[in-house]
Symmetry: C2
Subunit: 216 residues, 2 copies
DNA sequence: GTCTATAATCAGATAGAC
DNA sequence: GTCTATCTGATTATAGAC
């Protein structure tokens, strides 16, 4: 049995720093900006140290992804346990911050096998969870053949559409898409009037531009 | 005025070959596989020759994109001039071959400024064209606030959702999404019964897996 | 047109000193 | 834990021969 290379512990503060730096780099400049050198530089350390915690670069990326999924699942769990899970899911999906990182990973999955496998295995789990939260809606009466799974996939997909295009500078028709989507959501999950004033939670989706985005 | 570097003509057959090879490489292995070396190798030429026709790599990518947009616009034009433009647009957007390349460019745009600018300028043009084709539909009567622009954006977006997730190996709920979408389309643009037999054109969207996809 | 040769970066990954 | 030093290989891009 050959001598294994040394590797950092999961509890290390430095390891967490590396994950933070990688995530931030992806959000600021896109996943293509991620390299052991750039990540290390970002927090004033050396590339070799990155390899100490993450032997291969894919290990780093997968770790970032897993942590992000865990965080998302947690936030999602509280969101969809609300009175109006469908509208909560919509707000969640149209929130740029929640979705931008997911988009980066989807883009990255196109040419990183490890990430693709990770996404495929987590996506169905999350979607199933979302569908479960929508199962209390009265889809039986829906005249359009809607069901929890399809609605979950659609709502999240439309949210991503808006966020993704927004990041590219495309906005034509977005107002109308939002109108149609929200009208549809209202029909599936009627808003319950509270005290008569305007509803408390405005749509989270505003101007989707990212802060520090730089080109190539 | 400094001496300009030599550059190949637009009519060159070799230039067209380079564009073909680049496009194929993007579809087979993802945009990240595109480099002057890989492209040149693919057709048995040298990297330097790529730079002869396309001084910078971005020039090559933009040229591929422009050519693809032109081709798409042409196919789209004939498609949506049919009797049922909305259903035609749906079939177009759910066709993996038509959409896969677009997805690659969208992913690439996340970190290539030149591509992002190109996409932003072409996307609105295409969407406007699609919306125009849908303007003959009776949206005035639509109880859900649908309008051509929003419907165009939504239909294409949902199609892309299916294609994109399919490429990642995600399929959970896709059948239901397709059901919901097609039911919606039928309500917006009622199918006209022909001679009573099954409708001629089946949905184009089947198994979305790409052929030669390789990881990392 | 197409090539060879080369410069200048940048990447991933490892060994071994401290 | 963190570093320096190094190997290896890929990439963009240019100059100049043929």
């Amino acid at each position: 049995m050959k001598r294994m290379r040394r590797i950092g512990t999961e509890e290390s503060a430095t390891r967490a720093l590396l994950l933070d730096a990688t995530e931030q780099l992806m959000l600021d400049e896109g996943y293509a900006a991620v390299s052991t050198r750039r990540v290390a530089k970002q927090i004033g350390l050396t590339p070799a140290l990155v390899h100490y915690y993450f032997p291969a670069t894919d290990d780093l990326l997968v770790a970032v992804y897993r942590r992000a999924v865990d965080k998302t699942v947690e936030r999602l769990r509280t969101a969809i346990s609300s009175e109006e899970p469908l509208h909560a899911l919509w707000r969640f999906s149209t929130d740029a911050d929640c979705t931008a990182l997911a988009m980066e990973f989807m883009a990255m999955a196109n040419h990183r096998k490890a990430i693709r496998a990770e996404i495929a295995s987590s996506a169905e789990r999350v979607r199933t969870m979302q569908a479960a939260a929508l199962s209390k809606l009265a889809f039986d009466k829906d005249p359009n053949g809607c069901d929890p799974l399809g609605v979950a996939a659609l709502v999240v997909g439309i949210g991503r559409l808006l966020v993704m295009e927004g990041a590219l500078g495309i906005a034509l028709g977005h107002d109308r898409v939002r109108d149609i989507a929200e009208h549809w959501l209202d029909s599936l999950e009627p808003r319950q009037e509270t005290t008569g004033d305007a509803r408390a939670d405005a749509p989270a989706y505003g101007r989707p531009q990212r802060a520090g985005r730089r080109g190539n």
